[in-house]
Amino acid sequence: MIDLSVRIGNLTLANPVMPASGTFAEGLDKVMDFNRLGAFVTKTITRELRAGNPLPRVVERAGGLINSIGIPSKGVLYFLEHTLPYYAGYKPPLVVSISAPTAEDFAQLAAEMSVPGVDVIEANISCPNIEEDGKAFAMRASSTESVVRLLRAATPLPLWVKLTPNTGDLPDVARAAELAGADALVVANTILAMAIDLETFKPCLGNIMGGLSGPAIKPIVLRQVYQCARTVKIPVIGCGGISTTEDAIEYMLAGAAAVQVGTATFVQPAAMTTIIDGLVRFCERRDIARVADLIGAVLNEESDEVELAWVAPPQ
């Protein structure tokens, strides 16, 4: 029996595979047994009721898609009355993604969401901060630190902080989040991108710019996970272009303690459970007893440490 469990702070997940925020909803239970997932992650919830962005909201490009869905939200009450009871029937822990335009609002929402049935708060600080000219909180270490500090004070629940890949200061931002009390980091959100229609000369998205996701971004975000994992002591959850078991393992080797699968689900709806099955097979083949042994096991120099012998088993 391979031990698939991983620990994220005080929380033990049955396996390291969970959905990425905004790419998961109840409908997927037609495709997979939800009780097999490591965790549930909701679409980002905001306090205000929002309609989301103008259409078209997605455009595909080689190896991925650019989205400008925005955050259509039905608000807190709807979440508490409908979404929360729905997930209560399942085993995996519920991670609630939240967002807000100011640090104060963020903290208040975190407090409101810290109710029985919610296991983790994932703060999507890759969203625009109106106090910083619309620049995302996670673009800078200073704004990251101040919002995470308030969030930390506002909720007793484990706090995961989701970072943006669009900053040049990622290790600093990661360190700031850790210092301010984050229990884990999610690396990362989408990469700011654009596409233009050659028929009309207009941008392909109603919102002009959007976030790139899917296999196209994997090598970039993998590098960022690697950098963050070397910088902080708290767990890093990898998210960006993971479609296969191999992708998930690569992320874990780079230092991810768990992975989130987003866009891949749009192409292969059972991607998450397929990856979980693949992890078992990979560990069996390589004689790895615990999937957690993969975390950060990338070898930078030649190593003759005995306990790492499974990395290249003798032929």
């Binding site: 080689a62 190896g63 869905i69 709806p269």
Partner: protein, 285 residues
């Protein structure tokens, strides 16, 4: 099904006895045939598993299109169910070659594999007590309406189908409808018979003969408006299958939203999940 309804169905209890089974699958189907129907459309028949073959009229599949000419469609493409045979384990699609994805589909031949995902969405509901319904479609919309003919026949419901196309040779699926005992009226742009005024006259005639107890429609906002007007005037119910650019097809991404008028309130719904079939009176053409 609306978002509200689906969410309020509580999640499966941890200790529930019934084992989970999928009701939507992504699977590799085998192409039985993929023939040209006319200059623009192809008819794809595939062999598939029981879940896919249980698809109902108005539901759709998301097809992963083969790469062609260096183009690599990343997302799946939505295609309405054109026919399903649960006994033989087959589903059929009727598609128009529009761009990279459908060009890729056109390269498939018998024996090839194609990755299909479905059945998706909420299809048509057919009240078995109806004696006579009208199906009105244009373009690829006819593909969506086609399985209704068989389902209506099974209920003993008569169908009058009004098919709209640019030219007579592009009118599709007439045999499929007449084969199920439906009356088919073809209207075309080239013959000047497809205008809303003419269609309204045809519909008023059918209503007067009590041959229009419900509308089923797809593929034209112009025709939708005509039907909505008549439906209001004569209190006739109706259903419309809608399209919108989609990504996931299963309600996750909120890219295919449209506005609906629900009792005077504008409500945003996901075409892939809350539809693609909606109450005709709530649709905003």
């Amino acid at each position: 099904m609306t978002i509200e309804q689906t969410i309020s169905q509580a999640g499966r209890a941890t200790d529930s006895a019934a084992p989970w089974t999928p009701s939507v699958v992504g699977e590799i189907a085998e192409v039985i045939s993929n023939d040209c129907v006319n200059a623009e459309y192809r008819h794809l028949v595939v062999r598939c598993g029981a879940v896919s073959a249980s698809a109902q009229p108005g539901q759709f599949f998301q097809l992963l299109c083969p790469h062609s000419d260096g183009a690599q469609p990343f997302l799946r493409r939505p295609m309405s169910l054109y026919g399903a045979d649960p006994v033989r384990g087959e589903v059929e699609f009727l598609y128009k070659i529009a761009g990279a994805g459908t060009r890729g589909l056109a390269t498939l031949g018998a024996g090839d594999s194609v990755d299909i995902m479905g059945p998706l969405g909420a299809g048509f509901t057919l009240d078995p007590s109806l004696r006579h319904i009208v199906a009105i479609g244009r373009g690829a919309g006819l593909a969506t309406l086609a399985p209704l003919a068989k389902a209506a026949k099974a209920n003993g419901t008569r169908v009058t189908a009004i098919f709209s196309a640019r030219r007579p040779e592009l009118v599709l699926s007439v045999d499929l409808f007449t084969g199920q005992g439906a009356d088919v009226i073809a209207v075309t742009d080239s013959e000047g018979t497809s205008g809303p005024a003419h269609i309204e006259r045809i519909l008023r005639g059918l209503i007067a003969e009590n041959r229009c107890q419900a509308f089923y429609t797809c593929g034209s906002s112009r025709l939708l408006r005509v039907q909505q007007r008549l439906a209001r005037e004569f209190e006739i119910p109706g259903q419309v299958a809608m399209e919108q650019q989609m990504a996931c097809g299963i309600g996750l991404c909120f890219c295919c939203v449209r506005d609906f008028n629900v009792g005077g309130e504008i409500v945003s719904r996901r075409v892939c999940w809350d539809g693609p079939v909606f109450d005709m009176m709530e649709a905003l053409p």
